[in-house]
Symmetry: C2
Subunit: 400 residues, 2 copies
């Protein structure tokens, strides 16, 4: 299928009018291209009277590289379907999808412009009172209701098939589980951290545990994951939270989603040790982050447990002891994947602004060293850390 | 698609001629319908000069029940593809597929008529010198080469998608993991064994471990399984072994295949305690079965380990410690699934002739009780049993 981009603003506007209910027919609309347009075009269409929507169109290649690096456009269908599925259970936590156009590879969806990118909010040390609870609920609902604990066997398998997402999974497989554990050309390593990275490449105990986590990432079709749940995929303000961009969605291990966002809390935690600003303010904010992790996990855990008690129909999975064991496993998995996120964001290809905003390389290396230590600890001790309180104590001990 | 069965022998013969290379054009062919024709028609076409082949045609419903119980014909495509994939790595251990006809839902394949049904051979206490080694090799090769340890990420995911097999998986899910653990109407329980079955339904420790095994069966797309590897799916003689009927094939946990066949060794072992015949001969044969289990596992384990050392390209899965850990997990999984096979064949819907040939219900109950004990032990102790030698000692201790 040949790719057709929108030729003009008028065409974008006509498409927006035709495929959403939000504009009155007399409204004069205007369009802005937002986003970097590297692998997607993103347009905002607004009427100047407070109504607006977003159109996201997937490119069939990586624009800065050109048509030589193709990228499956099936990801935009997957994103649209994942948003719709999430919307069935937590409509308030994802943008509403007004329309998906398979031929144009375009989603027309709710504008979440009143929310801010969570990564920027965390760097600015904003305290978002509902964030952790919202994220815990998002994870519990999207993951439970797409698992065998809830779905009928045929429906689950049909969904697994529909969300096979090889191009985007391959990116995660390499960036999370391969590159950071060897001297790979894609890695980006802060010079003062080089010795730490080299030590890590020789850490066979760590690499063994990462191999187990990779095997689970490859094989375990436990639930429909968001698949890329870092703080740049979350938009939030004082009253609301929106999770966007599930183009990496596929059926994988639940702990990968939970661990990705926990890892991003800890990346910011490690960054706060050396970000600009008042030291006591930064320490207080670190505590706010740890409290948020506790709230997030507690919300997720209790809600998931309640779903298992009330909504699991398969009699063979209803035993209360099974729920205890299962949630214990989910914690261990989540800690392990949080660890892989910490490590890959520190010495892998894709770094985060929580660290990169520390301009002095030596200071940045301090925060990065803490991130590596936290990551390693969570991975190798994930089966021993009994609960989130123990995790938080361990984090504090390592942060010194 | 409406189902079209062959209308006449002449039509079967024409189809056989057209779709295989084995008959000379002058040969006069004749056809026999073999098999029970309940969910498949199976024909043997022969030329009277030693050449013959098999045509297997999948029915779209269960014939003894009628069109009211539909059964996906996609299973015959899955069977053909699974046989072909197995044939790429162990051509001598599966029938060769000459042709698959999607419209007719029919496979034309090699006749393995010179081999005998393994279940009958075991009941008759035949010692097949190459059997265990062949089965170990079949398992190592089919499972390793369809796993992420060998396949490229895209190929693996395309295969997972192609082998999604919900109708047949659902049968296994219920018969292995649900029915035997509750008072289900599909169960068939020998009257003297009723109290044992009731005790098992109240055994929460066992049910917890079975829930873990079920979750893995549902979720873990580790390798392309045969999916129904009981001794009725194996045909063997003094010199050769053929594994047939992979219509339950899907990507699942490797231990399910290994455990299914080990479970069938142990079902025969338990049956031999009370089958007709000389007692010392039966005891000797029990030892032959245990030796076979040791050979099977040892062949599987060493070959799989060798494949991991020589053929795993993914650097993140190449660590020798990972192979140790991984094969330890495979043993534990295999023992667990062997246990579920023992239990479901004893108190579930589908019993085995290894037991049913014991005509006296009280004597049969003795063997069945042993099978339940073996099954429970393998399931709950699977993580503690360090190697196959420990397993065999445990089996002997329980058999008394």
């Amino acid at each position: 299928m040949s790719f057709r981009k929108f030729e003009s603003d008028a065409e974008v506007i006509a498409f927006a009018r035709q495929n959403s209910p939000i504009f009155s027919s007399e409204a004069r609309l205007h369009v802005d291209e937002i986003g970097d347009g590297n692998i997607n075009f993103v347009y905002r269409v607004a009427d100047g009277a407070g109504n607006s929507l977003i159109i996201k169109q997937a490119l069939p290649y990586v624009r800065i590289i050109g048509e030589s690096w193709p990228l499956s456009q099936d990801r935009i269908r997957i994103e649209a379907e994942a948003l719709r599925m999430a919307g069935e259970h937590c409509a308030d936590l994802v943008p509403q999808v007004y329309h998906f156009d398979a031929a144009l590879c375009a989603i027309v969806m709710e504008d979440i412009g009143s929310h801010d990118n969570l990564r920027h909010a965390l760097i600015a040390r904003r305290r978002l009172p509902l964030l952790a609870e919202h994220l815990g609920r998002f994870l519990a609902d999207t993951l439970f209701f797409s698992s065998d604990l809830y779905l009928d066997a045929h429906r689950k398998k049909a969904l697994v098939k529909s969300f096979i997402n090889p191009d985007l999974c391959k990116i995660s497989e390499d960036l999370f589980f391969v590159d950071p554990y060897c001297d790979h050309e894609r890695n980006a390593i802060n010079a003062p951290l080089r010795a730490d990275a080299e030590a890590l490449w020789n850490d066979d105990l760590l690499k063994l545990e990462v191999a187990k986590l990779k095997a689970k990432f490859l094989n375990q079709a436990e639930a429909l994951l968001h698949g890329d749940l870092h703080s740049g995929s979350v938009f939030a303000n004082e009253t609301g939270t929106k999770v966007i961009d599930p183009e990496f969605a596929y059926f994988g291990p639940i702990g990968f989603d939970v661990g990705s966002i926990l890892g991003n809390y800890l990346l910011n935690f490690a960054g706060q040790a050396n970000l600009p600003g008042d030291a006591s303010e930064r320490r207080d904010y670190q505590q706010w982050l740890l409290d948020g992790m506790a709230t997030l996990w507690q919300t997720f855990e209790s809600r998931f447990r309640q779903h298992m008690a009330e909504q699991t129909n398969d009699p063979s999975l209803q035993l209360p002891q099974y729920a205890d064991w299962y949630l214990g496993q989910l914690l261990a998995d989540s800690l392990g994947y949080a660890g892989t996120e910490l490590i890959r964001r520190t010495i892998g290809l894709a770094h985060v602004a929580d660290m990169e905003s520390i301009t002095d390389p030596a200071q940045r290396a301090e925060s990065e060293r803490l991130a590596l230590q936290l990551g390693r600890t969570l991975i190798v001790e994930r089966e021993q850390l009994a609960d989130m309180e123990a995790v938080i104590q361990r984090v504090k001990a390592l942060a010194g």
